[in-house]
Symmetry: C2
Subunit: 410 residues, 2 copies
């Protein structure tokens, strides 16, 4: 499949609330988002994504040693059943993490209630939770929400579902691409604790392509590696991060080894778009920041340096303050753990080369300041050591980040 | 030496501006701090510490691959001469980092000017710089400052020297201990970018004990390992971090293998006190936070978990906001890279046990909130895996941190 064959679907739900966005862009998927009282504000807090037919499924999960109950539950479920999944149920307002055996029972109860409402088996349902750590789920409310959501499933429900998984996100994240043969679409939530290695990030992606679980798994791993694992808001990593993908085959178009490259490309484009939306909507973010590291010995080195820069509070506060303090970028590269050589580095803010051959260039301070003064900031650091590259997306660190996270639970 | 033999010297310079504090607590050391115009505010910005006689010297330096010129200069100097050092010259206002070959020449010129003023050899002088990265030193001002400082050296100059190395520090850090036989005293500056692995931290420690460079080096490494390497403000690591120690032997008391343990203990106490002052004065800090990790398999694991918690922006903003959000502590332990087991963990805020056996205890929220509401916060996390422990010191992450670092250069 050529990239020109891919046609972007309508992304803006404000233009068309009921357009087939996100998880309902692919054929044969319905979704809903309802308010069941988990969020004190009365906002949507329970999402359901359902396929009309059995799906192949794959998932990637947090590497945190402290895994929330739904993460453990989904890992066990996918280990038993990757072939006949039907639904994902997700709640915001409560992470069901650090809740011990009770929390595991709650995650199971959430799957059971969904299976009951949809008339399928419990092992066909995956579970997601996000919100405050260490509090029990209010199962009565969750059950009411599941019943409601099951009754309001629709092919236009992708937008509401995306709203229902939001926590401190200021806007829902949906994106979809369609090729001649099939569509891939998804939703995500993030905002805080987004990190390389997928911290506090939930994403559900659906497709009507027909693909075996093993190939779907390979495609997902490749896509996540250069999308959700390449964003950072504050370097923290959550207990709940999960990316799920369901493929129901409703398009009738089969993905074999031959078609896998194109499918993976398209999945990667969807995942990168969602990941960039997450970085752009990082907690308190006023700027979206793209950090491209080039000239690395290998891609892993490039990504490591880029993440070190992206996670530096000093770099992020300087960008927030409109201070083109390029030394902090060089410094963060220096402590990345990669054997960089300052004398070989070159650094650009936008198109302004500020550092080369181990020393500042004779750039005009006004130019470098202008280069970081917009909403979108592009930083490129060439290591001068090889030909590999990696790009990481992040946001700045603002007063609002501190405000939001100083009072999250209250 | 028993600890009871150690007598604390007067620490508060406000009580006695000219008391023998910090680097001038030990016999035979003079110091001065002057203003030579490197800081636009006119504050003290050049410090000189001089011994009447030749000193053994040892140093520990940043592990950042991007090393400032004075770091490279001192490493080369100590490699040639660890036996007959005389002085340390330090400036604030300019880090002389990322300045290439010109910066190396500037560091050398700074040592030469000091040697000229003191009538000693250049390889008897160590150099420190701190401040903005990527700008050249104003050598004319530095030379004027060195001349002035050399003329105003005194045994009461420790307080001014400590002021002259401050950047965003809100107060100077000095501390000294005296035993029956000798004294150890020092000064430090930190504030931003303080991190495990000694980031943006300068410290000069002096003693009138008589000790060979090899033993001094061992004592310094042991002391720094549990002091300056156990603090964190924002997880960044600077290009300039340096801890230097000079021993002039003026007490006549010799430290051999037998006396090394007691000497190392005393040096460690001085270093820990200075390190805790740095954490307490972290940029924008409103709270001092001690994180003790117990029950680890080994000390390295304990320190790794404690640092992961100490570096978490989510933990630090919660403490700032007075939110006893203990789940974030458990979460940060989970992604520390250590194989922790949530079901074996127990967590205390002050004396309130909030988490045990993988689930929250039935503590009263008012108690946990009270436990973190003071200026000093104590967090203990028991991993339940062994008997090793480590303590790390940090501060909270406040709005002022963002303000300070958004506008540092302007």
């Amino acid at each position: 499949m050529q990239k020109s064959e891919i046609e972007k679907l309508v992304l803006s739900e404000t233009k068309d609330q009921k357009s087939k966005v996100g998880v309902t862009a692919a054929r044969g998927f319905g979704a809903a988002g309802v308010a069941c009282g988990l969020k004190q504000t009365g906002a949507l807090d329970l999402a359901l994504v359902v396929s009309d037919s059995a799906c192949a499924g794959a998932g990637m999960f947090t590497t945190n040693r402290v895994k929330a109950a739904p993460v453990l539950y989904d890992q066990a479920t996918l280990a038993r059943n990757q072939n006949a999944l039907r639904a994902v149920v997700a709640n915001s307002g409560c992470a069901n993490a650090c809740t011990g055996a009770d929390g595991m029972a709650d995650a199971r109860a959430m799957a059971n209630a969904t299976a009951h409402a949809l008339d399928c088996r419990a092992d066909q349902v995956l579970v997601l939770s996000t919100g405050v750590i260490g509090q029990r789920l209010d199962l009565a409310r969750v059950r009411t929400g599941i019943t409601q959501a099951a009754q309001s499933l629709s092919a236009g429900g992708g937008a509401d579902a995306a709203r229902a998984i939001m926590t401190t996100d200021t806007r829902p994240k949906v994106y979809a691409l369609r090729s001649t043969h099939y569509a891939i679409g998804g939703m995500a939530k993030g905002a805080g604790m987004i990190h390389p290695n997928m911290a506090t990030l939930l994403s559900v992606i659906t497709t009507d392509a027909k693909i075996a679980p093993a190939l779907l798994d390979r495609a997902l791993r490749a896509a996540v590696g250069v999308s959700f694992n390449r964003i950072s808001v504050d370097g923290d990593m959550s207990t709940n991060d999960t990316v799920l993908v369901l493929a129901n085959g409703a398009s009738g178009y089969g993905i074999g080894e031959l078609e896998l490259g194109a499918f993976t490309d398209m999945l990667t484009q969807v995942a990168i778009n969602l990941a960039k939306q997450l970085a752009r909507d990082g907690e308190g973010a006023t700027k979206f920041v793209e950090i491209a590291v080039t000239g690395a010995r290998d891609e892993a080195d490039a990504a490591r340096v880029a993440k070190s820069v992206a996670n530096s509070p000093l770099v992020k506060t300087a960008l927030y303050g409109g201070d083109a303090n390029w030394g902090r970028v060089v410094c963060a590269a220096g402590y990345s753990g990669v054997a960089v050589e300052p004398a070989k580095m070159a650094l650009w803010f936008g198109d302004v080369n500020v550092f080369a051959n181990g020393a500042p260039t004779s750039f005009d301070e006004a130019d470098s300041t202008r280069a970081i003064s917009g909403k979108d900031v592009f930083i490129r650091l060439d290591l001068g050591l090889g030909h590999a590259r990696a790009t990481v997306w992040t946001c700045d660190l603002s007063h609002d980040y501190v405000t939001i996270n100083g009072k999250y639970r209250t």
